[in-house]
Amino acid sequence: MWHIAKRELYDNLNSLRFALTTVLLLALMLTNAIVHLREHPKRVQKYNDAVTGYENRLASYANESLYLLAQQGPGDLHKKPSPLHFCAEGGDAFLSGTVNAGDPFMYSADMTGVWKLSYPAVTPNLENVRPDAIKLDWGFIIGYVLSLVALLFTFDAISGERERGTLRLMLANSIPRHTVLIGKFLGALISVSIPFTLSVLINLLVISTDSDLHLNAEAWERLGIIFCIALLYMSLFLALGLLVSTRVRQSAVSLVILLLVWVTLVVFMPNTLASMTGEFSPSMLSGEFWKRYRQLHQELDEKYEDRVWSDNSDIKTLTARSEYFSLHVVLDERLNEDRLNLQINQFRHARSIIRVSPVAIVQHLLESFAGTGFERHLQFIENTQRYARHFREFVVDTDRKDPKSRHLIGIREGMAEKPVSPASVPKFEDTLSLSKDFNTRAMELLLLTLFVMVLLSGAYLAFVRVEV
């Protein structure tokens, strides 16, 4: 078997396609690294500036009074950029990097409500007039280019030998057929892996030259996993190539079939299928959203109208006002969350359907291991929600410690007026954890492995039964 693999390898190493693949992959990976080196510091800088702004804002309110802190809230919460952004860009242009936790409702010039959590609803880059193309990340290089290369290396593996007559010659020796097949598979795997590994290494070398972009141990672990996923994905297309090559008499026909399959699997299935299925699960249209919003507020206003707006500040009015403010926020947040959940479910639904295409699987996997993309966005949103709860508890607890306060949150007369030490205010920290990623992605990994197994055994069955 090793003999066959070695022969295959030598054959490939001397071929034109090997040289072209090496050049192509190297060029792509180098561009990816250079772009990352140029873009990532800017991203980190932007995030750091935003965090500083957030902390300053928080400190300025904390130094004023607990009341202002409870009214204005923590402000914009920012998503931390992933150091592995070059692996998968993950639709970042369409996912907003902030969740707003501030923006209290102004009832009148001298009456302001309490902050609330709201999620930006619109795509952030509306004013971008530049032409766009798919981002050149590892996801693209692996998902599109590497799969095409894998097919180009295997389309004539069996049919080519049959055409030349060397297959008959080889089988005349006492070699079992599965050994031939596995030998061919391994040979192709190694010969595609060589340029790929080389380009990955050079990419990482270039990226690690910059001391600012420090990749820690966890990042390397993730890169290792991503590399293994790439190999698995490559094997899938190698197996597919072998399968078709076995069944078809002429290499040219084999290539035509493979290219058509590739176009369907890689270019069209992820896009068209998703657009088709996006419609099936319901979502809240913005018209409907505003209708519900108005309705909720009208009901609330009717209930509290006569108790809240009187000018005297007796304890009854203040209590009612505090209740009204907090109910207002609760209703708003619930509605926002309802809409968000519907949107997420609709998107998840569409995404789970396109799992039939291996390129979609591999891109989801890459996104989740690189810490970008949709799942990461959900984690970020979850983090902000947890933080919002934490922040509210902090305000209530601090207020409770003050004996002079009337414990009416959101009302100037009802809360502690003393300043709070900025250090004691909880800070938002965006985190991402690998173990959680792994749980959600284990299924997709299994699915990918299953694809490979099915295709390989299909190729084996086809090859065993084929006449030479």
Partner: protein
């Protein structure tokens, strides 16, 4: 002789497996995608119609003239089904008021009911042709000469008194005929789907535009066929030719556009030019603000209160919102009261005089700021984007994309036509206010003595540019594609004439 050659080539091509496969896959993809795209268009149209209705109702409900900020919507382009371009990406809703000349950078999006779905990019018909048909053209071409050379039939043909140019021409014509079958058939099916959809009404001009798209597609297809033929002419073996063709395809279609866009990413940091323009705009408004304050200080009413102590059910605000990145800076103020608390008989004439002075001055300042902003936006944002567009055109994919976008009217120029129309409409809007003598009337800020009258306000409607303009925009790129065709054919001819069989 020529006819015999063509017939032979045609039969050779038509009876192959690849022809059937290409036909099948193109038809399938185009039909499936057209269905999706039509649905998407209908949804956008629906949300456009709903939005127009809401905006109409909103303006009619405004009680004072100062509260009258009209919002207008950009209708979705039905030809975005062919090439979506920027039609879905740029904002489609914009506010119009006297104090700012609107540009596309202030536009918002009304149809983003689920922003996450935008991550799943949908593909249009031109994209299918761009990716799949180019691949197919190469598949038809790679063995045209190399294959015959391998089989030895080329030598056989050349022993007859056939000119080499004729052989090339025959091969070209017959392969193009074969490639036209999937192209035209799939387009035909797409057109059937389009014309049977009730919500889409295509005008005669639209059919001409689609005709332009078809012509461009043929020229594009021919470029890729010729590239394949060139590779086939210079290589000895079909295997090598195929390999080279695949890599050329990958490089031109997938890699080059990404590489060139990645190589010249523009920075988000405003350049010196933008900063100076922004400061200039700010100065213009500062000057305006000084005059305004001076007026308030010197008028007959004591104090500098811009509300003249008038109070009632409603609100007042004034501020200078700014967005340095898009050079937006303006004086935004609104004073609108429904029922007044008391009669304010003494104050109202003062306020009327003030607004009669203020609003024309605001309009004038907005125009002055716009002259600076227009040039600066062009220099900083648009020119950079257009430079990228030019660089993309070094690949035939870029030329094809640009030409079809121009035909469909979904390119940047097409979208900007809308904003030109919006700016025109703003003048109509101001004229309307003027005709109602709104600035000098107390209806500008209060509905105490009757509400503002919006009934006769002309509605905004946008007509896409005429077919001549589309053609004028598309022709340079089509010309480039045709030149490329000629150039490639000449090269192939020269190579083939001098090659040994």
């Amino acid at each position: 002789m020529m006819m015999t050659l063509i017939r032979r080539e045609l039969l050779n091509n038509l009876m192959t497996f690849r022809f059937a496969a290409v036909l099948l896959i193109t038809l399938l993809l185009v039909v499936a995608n057209t269905g999706v795209l039509i649905k998407d268009y209908e949804q956008r149209l629906e949300s456009y119609n709903a939005s127009v209705k809401t905006h109409y109702r909103e303006i009619q409900e405004k009680e004072t003239y100062s509260a009258g900020e009209v919002e207008v919507d950009r209708p979705p382009n039905p030809l975005s089904i062919f090439n979506v371009g920027l039609d879905k990406r740029l904002g489609n809703e914009i506010w119009i008021s006297h104090n700012n000349v609107p540009t596309l950078w202030e536009a918002r999006m009304n149809a983003s009911d689920n922003p996450y779905l935008n991550i799943l990019s949908s593909i249009d018909i031109v994209f299918i042709f761009e990716v799949v048909l180019s691949l197919m053209a190469l598949l038809f071409a790679y063995d045209a000469l190399a294959g015959e050379r391998e089989h030895g039939t080329l030598r056989l043909v050349l022993t007859h008194s056939v000119r080499r140019g004729h052989i090339l021409l025959a091969k070209y014509i017959s392969a193009m005929l074969c490639l036209l079958v999937p192209l035209l058939l799939s387009l035909l099916l797409a057109m059937v789907l389009l014309t049977t959809t009730v919500s889409i009404s295509l005008s005669a001009d639209d059919f001409l535009r689609i005709g332009g798209i078809v012509l461009t597609s043929i020229a594009y297809l021919s470029v890729f066929y010729l590239i394949g033929l060139l590779i086939s002419a210079v290589t000895q073996r079909t295997g090598t030719a195929l390999m080279l063709a695949m890599f050329v395809w990958g490089a031109l279609v997938l890699v080059y556009p990404n590489l060139i866009l990645a190589a010249i990413r523009s920075s988000d940091i405003p350049q010196a030019k933008a900063v100076s323009a922004f400061n200039q705009i700010k100065q213009v408004w500062d000057e305006f603000d000084r005059e305004r304050k001076q007026y308030l200080a010197t008028d007959a009413f004591p104090g500098e209160d811009p509300t003249f102590n008038i109070n009632g059910m409603g609100f007042f605000y004034e501020h200078f919102p700014e967005e340095p990145r898009t050079l937006l800076y303006l004086y935004n103020s609104m004073m609108t009261f429904g029922k007044l608390d008391e009669k304010f008989e003494r104050e109202i004439p003062h306020a009327q005089n003030y607004f009669q002075f203020l609003i024309p001055s605001t309009i004038k300042t907005a125009e002055r700021a716009w002259l600076i902003r227009k040039q600066a936006l062009e220099d900083t944002l648009v020119r950079k984007a257009n430079m990228k567009r030019v660089l993309l055109k070094f690949s035939p994919v870029g030329m094809y994309d640009a030409a079809t976008q121009a035909w469909a009217g979904t390119d940047l120029r097409g979208v900007r036509d809308f904003f030109d129309a919006v700016r025109q409409y703003r003048l109509t809007f101001i004229d309307y206010l003027d005709s109602k003598n709104a600035f000098a009337s107390q209806k500008w800020f209060t509905a105490d003595a009757g509400a503002a009258d919006w009934r006769a306000l002309p509605t905004f409607s946008f007509k896409r540019s005429s077919i001549e303009i589309n053609a004028k925009r598309a022709l340079p790129d089509m010309f480039l594609l045709l030149t490329m065709n000629l150039l490639l054919f000449t090269i192939i001819f020269l190579v083939f004439i001098r090659s040994e069989v």
